[in-house]
Symmetry: C2
């Protein structure tokens, strides 16, 4: 469909009309719905129909910053590929890619208007008790099928090449592992927690651990990651769940995806005393602990079950998968710590903390997030799931 141009809503409508082979007599409506940082997103639908189609287009720069930060449009190809790969092994929990157009850097995606953004539901204190377990099952399936347990050397090497995503993963390296751990102009540090940030920047032991996590993020290509699995990348209903927004994906350590989602649940956990009186805060905090437990247990159980069918004669050794998942757990805690810190003092914050109105209460919650993040990074190797849960329970206010 020809040459790249930046869509307006009418272009999105016209594009859907062509792709879906709808005649000019079919009425179509459209709206821009994108609130993401990177891309533009439209919804196009027929009047009276509850479901339409989503049109997502990559711009040659970062949408929320503008042309001053150019960014490869090839990210649309990578995202489409990742969603298609994840969709093949886990269609239940992966948003469906209906069409991809490389020239226009456009994807048509299934419309999830009947879903809510998981983060938003948490901000509204709505409970989606199935979501955590579903997300654990999703991660087990997508990680397993791209891992050495499932793919032979040549297939995995080919996948690592196909899914190479150097430009976006370099951004993750910078905003996740580098900037937040030093005084950098890209950081966004609230004045009330400046002292804590400076203390963190002076913590040499912490920074050595973060260097190791960064090194592993680059070099430990265990599975095809989502790459940015925060609660805003997860859409939920009472019984369904869909993961969206995979443009930061690529091969990396499994613990990264787990850590990012753990951290986002923990950031919400830390925000509770700023949002609620004690009783309600305590109840929601316990719910977040329960969700992390459920996510991990479902991930682990499904991964172990899948790995029982591995054709790899060495990795199929009884006991190895448990041994391996023990290291994935440790990695996850370390990455969770980084995500908590970078979402509190780095460039990109979360509404859970930033949405707390009272500056003093907000700062108190941010301090909790920084402290918990540091503990997870420093003590990942000592914290089995039981100790980790105990650590969180101590912090329930």
């Amino acid at each position: 469909m020809s040459q790249y141009r930046i869509f307006k809503v009418d272009d999105a409508i016209a594009y859907v009309r062509v792709v879906e082979k709808l005649g000019d007599e079919v009425p179509l409506l459209g709206e821009e719905i994108g609130d993401g940082n990177l891309n533009q997103v439209f919804r196009v639908w027929q009047p009276g129909e509850s479901r339409g189609v989503i049109v997502k287009q990559a711009l040659p720069y970062i949408r929320c910053i503008g042309e001053s930060w150019p960014l490869t449009r090839d990210r649309a190809r990578i995202e489409a590929q990742i969603l298609l790969n994840h969709g093949r092994v886990c269609p239940e929990y992966t948003v469906e890619v209906l069409h991809y157009d490389p020239a226009l850097s456009v994807m048509l995606l299934e419309d999830l208007s009947d879903h809510r953004v998981w983060r938003q539901t948490q901000l509204e204190d709505l409970s989606f008790p199935e979501a955590a377990a579903q997300l654990g099952r999703y991660l087990a399936r997508v990680h397993y099928h791209s891992s050495a347990f499932h793919l032979d050397y040549q297939a995995q090497q080919a996948a690592q090449t196909d899914f190479a995503n150097p430009e976006l993963m370099a951004i993750t390296e910078a905003v996740f592992f580098v900037d937040p751990f030093r005084d950098h102009e890209r950081n966004n540090v609230a004045p009330l927690i400046r002292a804590e940030a400076e203390q963190l920047w002076a913590d040499a032991a912490l920074k050595v651990k973060v260097a190791a996590l960064k090194h592993d993020f680059r070099c430990k290509g265990e599975a095809l990651l989502h790459g940015d699995l925060h609660t805003g990348s997860v859409m939920v209903t009472a019984d369904k769940l869909k993961v969206i927004d995979a443009e930061f994906g690529g091969y990396g350590p499994m613990g990264f995806d787990l850590g990012v989602i753990f951290a986002n649940l923990l950031l919400n956990f830390c925000s509770q005393p700023g949002r609620h009186r004690a009783v309600a805060s305590r109840r929601v905090q316990q719910q977040r602990i329960e969700e992390i437990h459920s996510l991990w247990q479902n991930f682990r159980a499904d991964f172990v079950e899948l790995a029982a069918h591995s054709n790899d004669a060495a990795l199929a050794e009884p006991g190895y998968v448990q041994d391996f998942l023990g290291r994935v757990w440790q990695d996850a805690l370390g990455y969770a710590g980084c995500e908590m810190i970078r979402r509190t003092i780095g460039i990109a914050h979360v509404a859970d903390l930033d949405g707390i109105d009272d500056p003093a209460r907000r700062a108190a919650c941010q301090r909790q997030a920084l402290a918990l993040g540091q503990t997870l990074i420093l003590e990942a190797e000592q914290l089995l799931e039981e100790q980790f849960t105990a650590l969180l329970l101590e912090r329930v206010i």
Copy 2:
């Protein structure tokens, strides 16, 4: 130059004449010198000249097996690329590639006729006291310059793609980590040590550790490895050293190259009681211990010095490189253990052990190699360099 054909010695001579632009009047002699398993190798020279040129050609199958085991000729491209990459950062210790012809899968290499194969010198009890230190410096340079300490995300990702070597690294996976740890038809187990091999195959704890080492070999892409750094891939003179034969190279854990060379020194260590009376055996064993120490110390010192100039803000954190090298050491011991075992009961043995004439003495040395290999795999995490040296000194007979 054109179409692929399998060279005979006359083809090699004719080819050198064309590439080096030598007229028909220049007399050239040639001989086949290859004793490797994979490729054919010729030496071409002018009568009266001490140095000629080496012609190395990849066949579309494994030379020592024949057409029944086909193997990509693309390995010649990969080897040329790796040698050129290593040569750029460490010309002192890397064999020089003079010319590469993709159509013929042929490389012209510098002639190292004034060098000896390091393994062979050890079999003749000749001492090359500089070699170990030189090899440590070589590894520091080639590993550092292909690592995350030196390359940014995009450069390292591009290198990982360029140097992808799935077909040969899949062979390493099979013959290094899979076959030797189970009763497999490709193994070559001497009847006198069959019982020990069977005991090893039944050791579940050992096999879990080997699975982790295999997984890391696949997924931990830290540096551009040589990939097969045994003492037969190292050419030495009294003061010079050149590394050859990099067709098994690709991205992997740094500890792999270190472990393979440690293991080959240790296999020679284990062979001594089968070759010598006690006094001589003890002297040579102590020399091998000293070589491993020197290799590691030089690797570590040079790597730390190079890393002091890293531009990576996170990895440059003081203390990180030491922390990282501690894990490289552990990895090296694990891979050393695998190499010792696979060279004793796997498909490809070493002359150090197999060349011991008396079957009972040979079996005793092989048992030592198997036992030491198992210990290194099982106890890698507990063995700092000091404990490792003590462990070896206990075994000096």
